[in-house]
């Protein structure tokens, strides 16, 4: 089982340009990314774990936090492991 939290944190912080610490309780809209950059991050995470993450840029950027995303990805990775 990969360390989802650590991998996601690394993917996000590598793209962060503002010198602000990553707070997992923050919604994406507060991380200093524009919406398309968030969409690209979600894609990078999908590629990393080979999963499909449900995420609509119209509302999830404000509605979801990094912690929500980690939880979703942990679930998807666990489901995938069960199928393998």
């Amino acid at each position: 089982m990969p360390d989802v939290r650590n991998e996601i944190t690394q993917i996000i912080t590598a793209k962060m340009t503002d010198n602000v610490p990553l707070n997992l309780a923050d919604p994406f809209v507060d991380l200093g990314f524009n919406s398309f950059e968030v969409v690209e991050l979600i894609f990078d995470i999908e590629e990393k774990f080979d999963i499909q993450i449900p995420f609509n840029a119209n509302f999830d950027i404000e509605a979801k936090t990094v912690a929500d995303l980690i939880q979703t990805v942990e679930g998807l990775v666990a489901d995938k492991a069960k199928l393998a």
Binding site: F36, V39, N56
Partner: protein, 404 residues
């Protein structure tokens, strides 16, 4: 400078394949959005598209020749024939040589590309049909319209993603106004609901799962559509000389580039195009009654467009009727601006504005009159049609009732 009038309209849309059925659908508030039939819904996560499932190629084209036309060109030719027939023009001799053909498309013969490359990459084919390139090229629809309608003047395609049709019509307007052509067949066409394109759209994560609800509270994004619309434009003197029925006058065209972001909309760039169209048409903002909005249904577009209307129209913005017909037919991308200008011309002619359907209530960031859910009978002396493309390319056309 010559005055330019509209004398013919043609439409192929998910709610009707004639202007009459399209317009009847729009004013009835009928949605043409449904789960995709092709590619099958099971292969994609896209829940809704504005797809034309009952388009019958063989009702329009010789079975021996239909294979030369991608779906995008078929739509364009069918719409162009309607627009030409309604105008009553007979394109022969010198008039044919003075008639322009300008067709916008975002993706050209996309299903030909998708199908051909699938054969190569997935099925291991070693050769492709010799008509692959002539069907797929971006300008194929313009060529096919010129072939089927006998237009022999300036002809080319215009590509500016979701603003392609409006740029094409605007260029045709300028050409006829300047005397570079007497008549023009112009508009836009799109047929890119393919497996490859839908996966690309899904990756942008802006697709609505439930409905296209432009400007509404709880809107969740856009819905991809397809179709074509074409208009016949001609100089006023030519239309009058032959006693043509004049549907509306095109008075202004404005363009701008945001020069800001590849995907995010920018209200100041939008407003520059709107104001440029009003100024080009010598149209005071308070003379405009109806806006056919770009109104995609994304959170970002609809907020930015609302702000742009306030910049360009000032206090009059609150008195405008603003609607997005994408709520009914989806976003037909390179065809959208033409489908929407047809709606605006019909609104002028019929004194009815089509609604924005699926509207659930006011979003504080979108606080204008969006003609929610039901068409409205009202005089429309002047109307504006907005198109704002990804990449920040904006095009706006202003039309008004022909008053002699």
């Amino acid at each position: 400078m010559k005055r330019v009038v509209v004398t013919g309209l043609g439409v192929v849309s998910p709610i009707g394949q004639t202007v009459e059925s399209y317009w009847a659908g729009l004013i009835a508030g009928r949605s043409g959005l449904a789960p995709p039939v092709f590619p099958p819904a099971i292969q994609v996560s896209t829940k809704l598209v504005g797809q034309i499932n009952d388009f019958d190629s063989l009702a329009h084209f010789d079975p021996k020749l239909v294979g030369l036309l991608d779906r995008v060109s078929q739509f364009a030719v069918v719409a162009a024939r309607q627009a030409l027939a309604q105008s009553g023009l007979s394109l022969t001799g010198e008039l044919a040589e003075k008639t322009a053909t300008i067709v916008g498309t975002g993706s050209g013969g996309h299903s030909t590309v998708d199908d051909s490359f699938h054969r190569l990459y997935a099925e291991g084919a070693t050769r492709l049909s010799p008509v692959t390139i002539p069907k797929a090229m971006m300008s194929a629809a313009a060529s096919q319209v010129s072939l089927y309608c006998n237009t022999k003047g300036p002809a080319y395609a215009v590509a500016s993603a979701c603003a392609s049709a409006t740029h094409a019509i605007g260029q045709a307007f300028q050409m006829v106004r300047s005397g570079g052509a007497t008549c023009a067949l112009c508009g836009g066409t799109e047929a890119s609901i393919t497996f490859g394109a839908l996966k690309g759209w899904e990756a942008m994560r802006v697709m609505a799962p439930d409905a296209c609800r432009p400007f509404s509270l709880d809107r969740k994004g856009m819905v991809i559509g397809e179709g074509a619309a074409m208009l016949t434009l001609e100089t006023l003197e030519h239309a009058r000389g032959r006693g043509a029925d004049i549907l509306a006058e095109i008075v202004g065209f404005g363009m701008s580039a945001d020069s800001k972001d590849l995907t995010a909309p920018d209200s100041s760039g939008m407003a520059r195009a709107i104001s440029a169209a009003l100024s080009d048409g010598a149209l005071a903002p308070d003379r405009v009654d109806y806006i056919n909005a770009h109104g995609t249904g994304t959170v970002a577009n609809d907020e930015a467009e609302t702000a742009a209307l306030k910049i360009s129209f000032g206090d009059h913005a609150r008195r405008l009727a603003v609607s997005s017909t994408k709520s009914m037919v989806g976003h037909a991308l390179g065809a959208a601006g033409a489908l929407e200008l047809v709606a605006a011309v019909m609104a002028i002619r019929e004194s009815v504005v089509p609604p924005t359907i699926g509207y659930l209530g006011a979003d504080p960031a979108c606080d204008l009159d969006y003609v929610p859910n039901e068409a409205r009978r009202m005089p429309v002396n002047a109307a504006v049609s907005n198109s704002f493309a990804f990449g920040g390319l904006n095009a706006v056309i202003a039309a008004r009732k022909f008053a002699g």
